[in-house]
Assembly symmetry: C2
Homo-oligomer: 333 residues x 2
């Protein structure tokens, strides 16, 4: 089991030693942006002083927050390192004097070229190669933030995080087995649906967002929205009828009661047969510290849900990834 | 024309004089939450030091950011002042030592009782009484934030804001006339649609969100999502075909090029007949300072779009407001 942060993370943090750091900007697009939400949740829950903001890459460049400057750390992420908006955001942040850390699979990509410090991670979905989820985008982002927190505010949760991450992959593997039958059932039920909503709050919101826009919409061409579990009651719930299809995330962070309330409403006014519930209370999380269970749940949910997406795709006769009409197929958009 | 902030705002700010203020939390639910996004945009663009965060009321309570404390100002909003999550958020913030400012129509409501300072505003939609949009939720929030900025950072845009707000209502009245024919056309085209998306970025994102969840979903039972104009290209755009229905907001803030790019894509790969475009470049904004045009555009769009919603409702035989199944009709959810 690791007892220290990855060398590239330690190196990036060492370069920040002694610097005043006032704020952290978490910047990316789409699926890579989705991991930044739990990153901010972690800082909100742990940091006495460090402020953090989450922005889409191009929104960040145009909005150009005045607070961005030499006391800022900007953490960016792009799997291929070629996302133009994110590369532009990195260049913009450096021009404003901020320190930039870029997470990417490719150490020679445009994002890697554009940032002060490159941090690697692993991704299972596109390569098909088995990885350790501890080294995924979420895992590495948590490592960077826990390291930053230790360095800037002298609050050390690094050992607990690393221990918890070392038990993550077995928890994911067990979840896959646990969800197999339920996913088969719901793939059949959802195969012809035109609209499928996802709902979550807190740490889970990012995974809920990513599954909605990057999987349901992008790869399966199903209409969707990631509805925040409490915002649900301030408008969206009016679309609920017995045919409404939802994927309901129930996690273990401090907002769990919001997610439970949404599920309870959906069970009462929708039809249970159309509500796919992932409840982390039923997961086997041996070895993960209580303090990190909530943070690691969305990794488990999202990894598991990929299997569901493929099952759904098989029934819809959509070829995942190749099902795209526009992304990486057309240029100049 | 007013040359100073409303008395209740000045009084709230006077009580803050001399206090160290490190951060601003903007907290509400649903439609009232939607105005907080442009509020944060304003602070991001203008404040050298003031950090700001936008949270749903219950998310805020459960997440309970560590930075919340005696150096925090928490601005909350609830039209009736009875939104339970927002009232709970106000109480929570006061317990943590923050100064709370509550925006509500009802000075005797639970929210008014729960906060340190009550600030009034006007709302046209529920009362049916004509108001001056300068005194709407957006207008009043901007006044609070401009006042706070002047007091805390000695940067004074109050006169420019007040002058601009004084020219807002005429601009809205002109927009209503300008959009009449287009809204008639699109109400007919969209009358049977099952899914209508909205898209925007920057200052407009809040109005885009509110129209999606509080009007299309809540009052017309139409499936929807408010898609951020750049996030659109990182997943959501794959659902676009010739039948896809969108309402595209094009504003005058620094993110305008993001919104234009989305519109251009929709025109190319969708069908122009199904893309309702509101472009602020065509609005008559006489008297509004250039620096505030971008900030006031979403008020104009949103006010105008209410008329569109009623036209759509008439064709769908949905009775607006009474069309709700759950909100204010059932209890204990």
């Amino acid at each position: 089991m690791k007892t220290e942060l990855n060398p590239d993370i330690s190196k990036a943090l060492a370069a920040l030693a002694g610097k005043t750091i006032a704020n952290v900007f978490l910047v990316a697009c789409g699926g890579s942006l989705s991991i930044m939400h739990p990153g901010k949740y972690f800082l909100d829950r742990h940091a006495d002083k460090l402020n953090s903001d989450v922005y889409n890459g191009d929104e960040f460049v145009c909005r150009n927050p005045r607070r961005l400057g030499s006391e800022s750390v900007v953490i960016l992420c792009s799997q291929t390192g070629t996302t133009k908006e994110t590369v532009r955001a990195a260049k913009h942040a450096r021009e404003r004097g901020a320190t930039t850390i870029g997470m990417t699979l490719d150490a020679k990509s445009p994002l890697a070229e554009a940032v002060d410090h490159v941090v690697a991670y692993q991704a299972p979905y596109t390569t098909g190669i088995a990885i350790d989820a501890a080294e995924s985008n979420y895992g590495v982002l948590y490592m960077i933030l826990a390291g930053l927190l230790r360095q800037v505010e002298n609050k050390d949760v690094v050992a607990s995080l690393l221990k918890s991450l070392s038990h993550l992959q077995p928890a994911i593997d067990k979840a896959h087995i646990q969800y197999t039958a339920m996913f088969d059932t719901f793939a059949e039920r959802f195969q012809d649906r035109n609209v499928i909503y996802t709902t979550a709050s807190g740490v889970n919101y990012g995974a809920c967002y990513s599954f909605s826009i990057c999987v349901l919409m992008e790869m399966l061409w199903i209409n969707s929205q990631a509805i925040h579990a409490d915002e649900f009651f301030h408008g969206p719930f009016e679309v609920v009828d017995k045919n409404a299809s939802f994927i309901s995330f129930i996690g273990l962070d401090e907002t769990r009661r919001l997610e439970e309330r949404t599920r309870d409403f959906l069970f009462k006014y929708g039809d249970k047969k159309n509500i796919l519930v992932l409840d982390a209370a039923n997961l086997q999380l041996d070895g993960i510290d209580d303090a990190f269970k909530g943070y690691l749940v969305p990794l488990i949910f999202f990894d598991a849900l990929w299997k569901f997406a493929y099952k759904l795709a098989a029934r819809r006769e959509t070829v995942m990834l190749d099902g795209r009409r526009y992304m990486k197929k057309i240029s100049n958009y």
